[in-house]
């Protein structure tokens, strides 16, 4: 089947019941989305599908034919980091970083849908995503930094 991933058409030979996550990781070499639980409980596997966040660890790849998938590797455009990625770097919003791709994807989906969310909306959007190192306060600061930049423009 053919998949549109990060703007490119990719053809893969897989059983359509294979979870999207493993097609990305094993067939396409895109290991940014992580296996955390395989149960849609932790959010480490999040990717964008037609601009909306989806968890890729259970959803069969067959459901994604003809749809535009963006993984963490596709967030930067032409080598330039997305504003969210830059803010994460500036705020040093990571320790081990295993959860970071999923959380950046969730933040991207939120900000694309709602340009200036309030604090409660930010926290609600990120609440399905777990971080075990406790870097939540830094990630929240990074999001607020992006919103402050937007508000200035």
């Amino acid at each position: 089947m053919e998949l549109r991933v990060n703007g490119a058409l990719r053809s893969v030979e897989v059983d359509p019941s294979t979870p999207l996550l493993w097609v990305l990781r094993d067939e396409l070499g895109l290991t940014g989305a992580k296996y955390g639980c395989g149960l849609e409980q932790c959010g480490a596997c999040a990717v964008l599908c037609d601009g909306r966040k989806v968890l890729s660890c259970v959803a069969p790849v067959g459901e994604f034919a003809g749809r535009a998938i963006t993984t963490i590797e596709g967030l930067a455009q032409d080598g330039e980091l997305d504003a969210l990625q830059r803010a994460f770097v500036i705020e040093q919003a990571a320790q081990c970083g295993y959860c970071v791709p999923g959380i950046l994807i969730a933040a991207k989906a939120l900000l694309d849908e709602k340009p200036l969310p309030d604090e409660a909306e930010i926290r609600a959007a990120l609440a399905p995503h777990l971080c075990r190192c406790g870097t939540h306060p830094r990630m929240l600061r990074a999001l607020r930094r992006v919103l402050a930049e937007r508000a200035r423009r």
Partner: protein, 720 residues
């Protein structure tokens, strides 16, 4: 004095190389766990060598290269590896300056160095570390005589700067062990017993062997694994295989409700703790103290808790021509190599263990175990790299837990409200279950217990050294006129247990700092003033004051039951590392009985600061993680088995529950740098308990503080 890491690895070349491409390579025997080790070590090297941070590459532990520093544990890495590297870099600089002096025809003391470029002032003569020595190797040992820079000359240490490796993390290009992909790689999964102690009776692997992509099914006693061309195929095959297995002999667990009573009635080995160390001596009896006006007693408990890494453990193993290479996120590659060699009956020389970053582990989790799993499959499939990752359920079920603990405290106040006598008895299972090399019959690695013939799990033994395991931070830093600290070691746990970040310190500090609060209230004193009254250590006093001040501590007495409260707690980790105070504000939701953390301050004195942002990150993260342990976390189980098998059954703190966290770092230029990665765990738990008391008048002594516990405490009519 030559630091232990240098005594063990004295050659300068082991630590540092000047490369021809204009970079500097630093080797360490420690590993990056998300704690910021690479950034901290790069800063130390950049400072001493006068090169920019961007030039420094840090290579973490590898049994084939660099120093052997055993484990990355105990908040020791800066004190061990950092101190050794600093001396090595200072010596390298001295040697390089001599070369430069000869090259430029000027005395070494007159030369100016900037980003590795060396100039003789007043001349146009220029060279660089790289032109002089790039690609060459230092010879001989680190003498330890070269003097590191004076603090006033520091240009990197203590100053803000970037964390290394952030861009790969935010772009998804960072390669964790979980992500390592090699040509011809096979993906494997294990089918574990349903419980510890269960033995495999039978399995039907014929249908599984016919599944797409399946390459091999391994059975060795009760160790069962399947290898396939792709991860998803291996997972599907493992699930089908699991459904075909029959097991016997899983022992019953004790009923959860009886855990603490059984811990109290179990046989113990008991030791007095003096100056932080357990002694092989009789435990002194409690004796009445003169001048006691009032005596308080309280008991505190902590359940089994998990590391619960966000990424299940993984390893890659590759057997080529009889030699085995293992990529692992272990905390101790050289020790793991020995343990693997014994379990595999291979000479250690034929094994190489390379550290590659993994998801945060927070102590001894499944990282070492999965390395043996992968190695066993790799030995059956020589020539092909084998990637093996645990499932979520496997990680929750098989990682060693932070052990349950009971702390019994008793103290007497004199008429003026000062502590005249103090007793702390701490009771737990081993916190030190690491996979040490233990001979041919005993192994700390899970798969070794399941193979035929099985190796036995290690027999837990008490360790008496200062602040090891159970008695870590049981001995308070306060200047009490009399104290009695006792360690009770229990040898038979219903679960496998080992080191979880801060080990016994988390629960001991929770208990002792909660009890200090109880005593302060009994003495009608402000809890901050009450602590200061009993503390002589000026650096301890300063972090407490700093945390209280930043929070906006209200010292005046106020009515309880408002639903909002402040709490503060303090500890110096192991009484010898960073000083840390946590002060916070919370609200107890009337309807749900849930505790909502609103604002938290963590103040710390970690000596000379190497990387301020890295230090703040560790303190903040420790606070949030400890808040999660304190409010939510408990391994749940019933007679017939474990109940905490995923994130729904073992919930942790989420984005809508974390407080704002502010950090206050005390500057101590020129003082030794001190480990701080575990410093905020204990104070956080007690600060929460103390704030809950301030908010509600209810004293919570049993972790975790779930809404059910809050409601039970509210219904309990006995005095708090």
């Amino acid at each position: 004095m030559i630091p232990p890491s240098l005594q063990r690895n004295p050659e300068l070349d082991t630590w540092l190389r000047i490369e021809a491409d204009g970079s500097v390579t630093v080797y360490t025997g420690k590993v990056e766990l998300g704690q910021g080790l690479k950034t901290a070590l790069a800063r130390i090297a950049a400072e001493e060598l006068d090169v920019s941070l961007a030039r420094v590459r840090v290579r973490t532990a590898d049994t084939a290269a660099g120093p052997d520093e055993l484990y990355t544990v105990g908040s020791n890495s800066l004190e061990e590896s950092g101190t050794a590297l600093r001396l090595a870099a200072a010596e390298a600089r001295e040697r390089l300056l001599e070369l430069a002096a000869a090259e430029l025809g000027a005395p070494a003391s007159a030369l100016r160095v900037e980003d590795g470029t060396v100039r003789a002032p007043g001349t146009d003569r220029v060279t660089s570390w790289f032109a002089l020595f790039g690609g060459r190797r230092f010879e001989g040992k680190v003498g330890g005589r070269a003097r590191p820079k004076e603090p006033r000359a520091h240009r990197v240490l203590g100053r803000p700067g970037p964390r290394l490796g952030m861009e790969p993390l935010v772009t998804g290009r960072a390669v964790f062990v979980q992500d390592l992909r090699l040509p011809g790689m096979v993906h494997a999964r294990v089918v574990r017993p349903p419980a510890r102690g269960a033995r495999l009776d039978s399995l039907d692997d014929a249908p599984v062997r016919r599944m797409p992509g399946v390459i091999a099914v391994l059975r060795d006693g009760s160790f069962v694994a399947v290898a396939a061309e792709r991860s998803a195929q291996a997972m599907a095959a493992a699930e089908r295989l699991r459904r075909s297995t029959r097991w016997t002999g899983a022992p019953e667990l004790p009923p959860r409700a009886e855990l603490y009573t059984r811990m109290r009635s179990a046989r113990t080995q008991s030791f007095p703790v003096v100056d932080g160390a357990a002694l092989d001596a009789p435990v002194p009896a409690r004796e009445p103290v003169a001048g006691a006006a009032r005596t308080l007693r309280a008991s505190y408990t902590r359940p089994f808790q998990m590391h619960a890494s966000l990424g299940p453990s993984a390893a890659v193993a590759w057997e080529q021509e009889g030699a085995l290479t293992v990529w692992s996120h272990s905390q101790g590659v050289s020790v793991l190599r020995q343990a693997l060699a014994q379990a595999l009956r291979l000479p250690a020389e034929r094994l190489r263990v390379v550290h590659l970053e993994g998801p945060g582990c927070y102590g001894h989790n499944g990282a070492d175990d999965v390395a043996l799993d992968a190695a066993l499959v790799a030995r059956a499939l020589p020539g092909r790299p084998v990637h093996l990752q645990w499932s979520r359920q496997e990680e929750h079920a098989w990682e060693p837990y932070g052990p349950a603990m009971i702390m019994d405290l008793e103290a007497s106040l004199d008429a003026s409200g000062s502590v005249v006598d103090w007793s702390h008895e701490t009771r737990s299972f081993t916190h030190l279950g690491r996979a040490l090399p233990l001979g041919e019959r005993v192994s700390g690695l899970v798969a070794a217990w399941h193979r035929d013939p099985p190796m036995a799990p290690p027999t837990p033994r008490p360790v008496l050294a200062p602040h090891m395991g159970i008695h870590r931070n049981a001995d308070p830093l306060y200047a009490f006129p009399r104290r009695r600290v006792v360690k009770h070691f229990l040898d038979s746990s219903p679960f496998r247990t080992s080191s979880l970040r801060s080990l016994g310190a988390y629960a001991n500090v929770f208990a002792l700092e909660s009890f200090m609060d109880e005593l302060a209230h009994a003495a009608a004193a402000d809890p901050v003033e009450f602590r200061l009254r009993h503390l002589e250590d000026p650096r301890a006093r300063e972090v407490i004051r700093a945390a209280a001040e930043r929070l906006g501590w209200r010292a005046e007495p106020r009515p309880r039951g408002s639903g909002r409260g402040q709490g503060l707690a303090f500890a110096r980790y192991k009484n010898q590392k960073a000083w840390c105070a946590v002060a916070l504000e919370l609200r107890v939701d009337d309807a749900s009985a849930a505790i909502r953390l609103e604002r938290a301050v963590v103040a710390a004195d970690a000596g000379q600061i190497v990387d301020p942002d890295g230090l703040a990150n560790q303190l903040e993260g420790g606070l949030v993680q400890a808040a999660s342990w304190t409010l939510k976390e408990e391994v749940r189980f019933e007679r017939d088995g474990l109940r905490s098998v995923d994130w729904d059954t073992y919930p942790i703190l989420r984005f809508d529950e974390v407080p704002e966290v502010e950090t206050v770092l005390l500057e101590r230029p020129g003082e030794p740098w001190l480990g701080a990665g575990e410093a905020s765990q204990g104070p956080t738990a007690a600060a929460i308990a103390n704030a809950v008391f301030d908010a509600t008048g209810l004293r919570l002594r049993d972790l975790p503080f779930t809404p059910e516990r809050m409601r039970a405490a509210a219904l309990d009519t006995s005095p708090a």
